[in-house]
Symmetry: C2
Subunit: 251 residues, 2 copies
């Protein structure tokens, strides 16, 4: 019973109708004259989604060192705790828990596909196997950095990271940065110059900077380098267009 | 015993020392005067790797229809069987079964990573969940097409394919095409214009054309459209540089 209520609640949570703090009072058809049972659901029925940006045992020493470097410069929300201008962004395996069924591009998106959908960069749960990454943003400098540890499932050229996997992280970091700066956006252009391949298993740094904003357009540049900055792997210029929900729903 | 020999043989196969047809005659330290056992291994110990480009039950009607359209125009190797100029390219989950341990970019690639490494576009075995695709090349027209069915694990914007997943397929198709035209290459530039998002679950067509070749450079263009060509999703220009093994091994 508790489990089935939990499932129902999860369904509502996906629909965005319940916050974590909501106390659900479920009821069904109740015969007149009977007492309605009121159930207040405990918090363990609403588990926190996993935040993939937090350290896990698969992280190597370089990934951990870089994480601690930026984490130690993060602003603190406690009194008098202003430590620095950076802020870590949490990361889940869906951007949205539920999307309305709509016709888009002539194709109807089925409920089944929606319920199973997962964010491309977080679709493998095995820690360390694919993308291990964490993003930090800096409001003052309008910058965003990402520490990436590239797992063994990202192979392209033998022993090296696939160009598409690098493009995926660049799109993720610049897109997140553009959203942070301009609200909801869609990628309009990615122009990526690949300078040096990235060995599988290595940790690299992605640095995203605002170039300019013009109306609906946000221009971002992004460099992928070794963590000490001595080796340049890729250079990118990216363009994002601000959108409203109707842009997406209308395909 | 047969299983352990099989494992050893697989190891040798990974090292590229044995072809499938090779009959292995294993031996260890044999005391002088004893008879050496000679084992000829049967073919079932060398299973064919899975060709991911062949139809499977997850393929929708549009994916299947497009596959049959190009498959029916493929050249045939039987006598008098010349049906058309297209050729289907098989697809496995590693480009190379084994890569030599080497220092690259300052990072040593461990044997463990190598043995577990999988091609980024084929790293999920669950049919239909991620990239379902098949490539056909046309020698006469120097073209390459790819039919892609985008699974639920490729999500970016809610209900739509991640820009990085699209970039990944563009890199894969143009890179394969460039390799077909010019031998081993590395991606030097991808310039992708995103025109219209791709709904999750839909089937699209990637068409790759040779623009020009200049020395080590191969210039390719690629369009991603709906299967009837009426909707343009992305337009890309790509540049590839011819490489030798030493380019890759040297980082």
């Amino acid at each position: 019973m508790a489990r089935s209520i939990g499932r129902i609640c999860k369904g509502f949570q996906r629909l965005g109708l319940l916050s974590k703090q909501t106390q659900l009072i479920p009821f069904t058809r109740v015969p007149v004259g009977t007492v309605r049972t009121i159930v207040t659901l405990p918090s363990f029925l609403f588990p926190q989604p996993r935040d993939f940006s937090l350290p896990n045992p698969s992280w190597g020493s370089e990934m951990t060192r870089m994480y601690e470097h930026y984490e130690s410069q993060c602003e603190m929300e406690t009194e008098g705790g202003q430590k620095g201008p950076w802020r870590r962004l949490p990361s889940y395996n869906r951007l949205l828990k539920y999307a309305t069924v709509f016709p888009s591009g002539g194709v109807y998106l089925s409920k089944m596909i929606q319920s199973k959908a997962r964010l491309f960069t977080r679709n493998i749960r095995n820690p360390g196997a694919a993308f291990e990454y964490v993003l930090f943003v800096n409001k003052e400098e309008q910058k965003c950095v990402c520490i990436l540890q590239a797992g063994h499932l990202l192979e392209g050229p033998p022993g090296h990271v696939h160009g598409g996997a690098i493009a995926t992280m660049i799109d993720t970091v610049t897109g997140t940065h553009a959203t942070f700066l301009s609200g909801p956006v869609m990628t309009a252009n990615l122009n990526i110059n690949y300078r040096r391949p990235i060995p599988l298993g290595s940790t690299v740094l992605l640095e995203s900077c605002l170039e300019k904003k013009e109306g609906r357009k946000t221009f971002i540049t992004c460099r992928v380098t070794s963590t000490d900055g001595s080796k340049l792997h890729t250079e990118t210029s990216a363009l994002f267009l601000s959108i409203t929900a109707s842009h997406l729903l209308g395909g």
